[in-house]
């Protein structure tokens, strides 16, 4: 039976993990590869490196990171952030990334999803959606871009459907309302999107404690759960998370 995935997300700037890492047992907690390797040992199912740099010089660093990761890691990894074109994506995949995630560029040019899926296969293309609830309407969320700074007014559920139709292999769905809140995933949003598309949905944003992961799967109907700081700060290990999921009768690879 297909297991539900637990995915640590690493925000990377200039080739270093940022957003605070206080991981016990690493020589250098800022080294993305070393951190990813530690997650591999804890039986993480994959990792996502999110490139939060903007300039092209820094992009070169991220391509190097992808190449280094393919030499060092024995689990699948995705690189997200900053792709503008099929050529950008090709560079990253040639460097060794198994998948890329596209966000703002796909909203600006949905055809990028179609082109990239055709060139590299649907399994290589994640569409990341940053969604925020519309005040006063409990069943509507809008898509934000540019790192969550700009509201596009696009309906998040509709956008997920279109992304899937265009060949996205997975949706990485972040609730902006919950991101950083430690209140748990927005299960209503997650479930609504998971039911709207026939491709896997990764829930992201809001994890603060152990139970939240199982909630994202059971209540949110997600296929995978993503978290960052609870792992980086060593509050929870991937293994603990998976054990709690298994206790909730969720199939996991321990």
């Amino acid at each position: 039976m297909l297991t539900k995935r637990v995915i640590p997300c690493l925000d990377v700037k200039d080739g270093r993990v940022v957003k605070g890492v206080n991981f016990v047992g690493l020589r250098d907690a800022g080294d993305p590869i070393e951190l990813a390797r530690a997650y591999d040992e804890q039986r993480a199912d994959e990792v996502i490196f999110l490139d939060i740099t903007a300039t092209s010089d820094d992009r070169a660093t991220t391509v190097e990171l992808a190449s280094h990761a393919s030499a060092e890691l024995h689990l699948p990894y995705c690189v997200g952030g900053g792709f503008r074109s099929v050529a950008d994506i090709r560079t990253m995949i040639a460097a060794g990334a198994d998948k890329v995630s596209v966000n703002s560029a796909a909203v600006a040019n949905p055809d990028l999803i179609t082109q990239a899926a055709r060139a590299f296969g649907t399994q290589a293309i994640l569409v990341a959606i940053d969604a925020k609830a519309v005040p006063g309407n409990p069943n509507k969320w809008e898509v934000y871009v540019a790192g969550g700074r700009k509201n596009t007014g696009i309906d998040a559920v509709e956008w997920a459907r279109e992304a899937a139709r265009r060949g996205a292999g997975e949706i990485l769905l972040t609730s902006m309302d919950r991101d950083g809140s430690r209140d748990g995933f927005d299960c209503h949003l997650t479930r609504t999107v998971a039911r709207a598309v026939d491709i896997p949905v990764i829930a992201s944003g809001g994890v603060g404690k152990l139970e939240h992961f199982a909630e994202g799967i059971i209540d949110g109907e997600a296929d995978a759960v993503l978290a960052a700081s609870v792992f980086h700060f060593g509050e929870l290990t991937v293994r603990q998370v998976k054990e709690s999921m298994r206790a909730a009768a969720i199939p996991v690879r321990l």
Binding site: M1, K4, R5, H74, D98, Q123, D198, P200
Partner: protein, 233 residues
């Protein structure tokens, strides 16, 4: 020397490094002559069957792989590389005309996985993530591993049942996730051993062991042939 076949359709770094990590000498090549001379051949791949089959044909690599296999070189197809072992595939097939052809090492047509099971329950396709592979009989490829081991999958198409099935996995349907041409060192796996942590590393090491033994036999045979020539002189 293990040759990883490069048919210009994807990134082969992980496979190359996975094999090297298992102690193999590896070369990535799109040269049919090099494929024919290989001690063992690995055919990786992501992307679509039709495009890959066309590339193999265009580059003369399909015939080279078939020759290497016929000469007894151990073979491992990974993901799309496993699909290409079959006769045909429907992925990206033209609407009219015959289905794109694979290597035909195993009979049957690779098709899209259904999005519902027999009871009508919905499943997400692509089938992405870690799933278990079950087998009944020991095989050198599974040496040191136990039936039920988890491997990493990412695919939408699946191989048909045939006499070659040696391992199965269940998502919307139960499908062959490992095949072997009966009696030959010719395998295919639907999952990605190079991305499957310790279990995947073990499987690659098992293949490298088979490849090395085959190379040794060939080397010995070559030496014997040489000796024969010398003794005639």
């Amino acid at each position: 020397m293990i040759v990883v076949v490069d048919y210009h359709k994807g990134n082969l770094l992980s496979v190359e490094r996975g094999l090297r990590g298992a102690g193999a000498e590896v070369v990535v090549s799109d040269d049919p002559a090099q494929v024919r001379a290989a001690d063992a051949v690995v055919l990786p791949g992501v992307g679509a069957f039709a495009d890959a089959a066309a590339s193999l044909e265009e580059l003369g690599l399909g015939a080279a792989v078939a020759d290497a296999v016929a000469a007894g070189a151990p073979f491992l197809g990974i993901c799309l590389g496993m699909h290409l072992m079959f006769e045909h595939g429907t992925e990206h097939a033209p609407e009219a005309g015959p289905l794109p052809a694979g290597l035909g090492l195993v009979s049957g047509t690779v098709g899209l996985m259904p999005k519902t099971d027999e009871a009508g329950a919905a499943y997400k396709i692509p089938h992405v993530g870690w799933n278990s592979v079950e087998w009944d009989e020991a095989d050198p490829l599974f040496d040191g591993l136990e039936s039920g081991e988890y491997f990493y999958f990412t695919h939408s198409f699946a191989a048909p049942e045939s006499v070659a099935t040696i391992g199965r996995t269940t998502h919307s349907v139960t499908f062959p996730s490992a095949v072997r041409v009966p009696g030959h060192p010719v395998w295919g796996v639907q999952f990605h051993p190079e991305k499957s942590s310790d279990a995947g590393a073990r499987l690659l090491a098992n293949f490298v062991t088979v490849a090395r033994a085959a190379a040794g036999r060939r080397g010995a045979a070559a030496t014997m042939a040489e000796d024969t020539v010398l003794s005639k002189e």
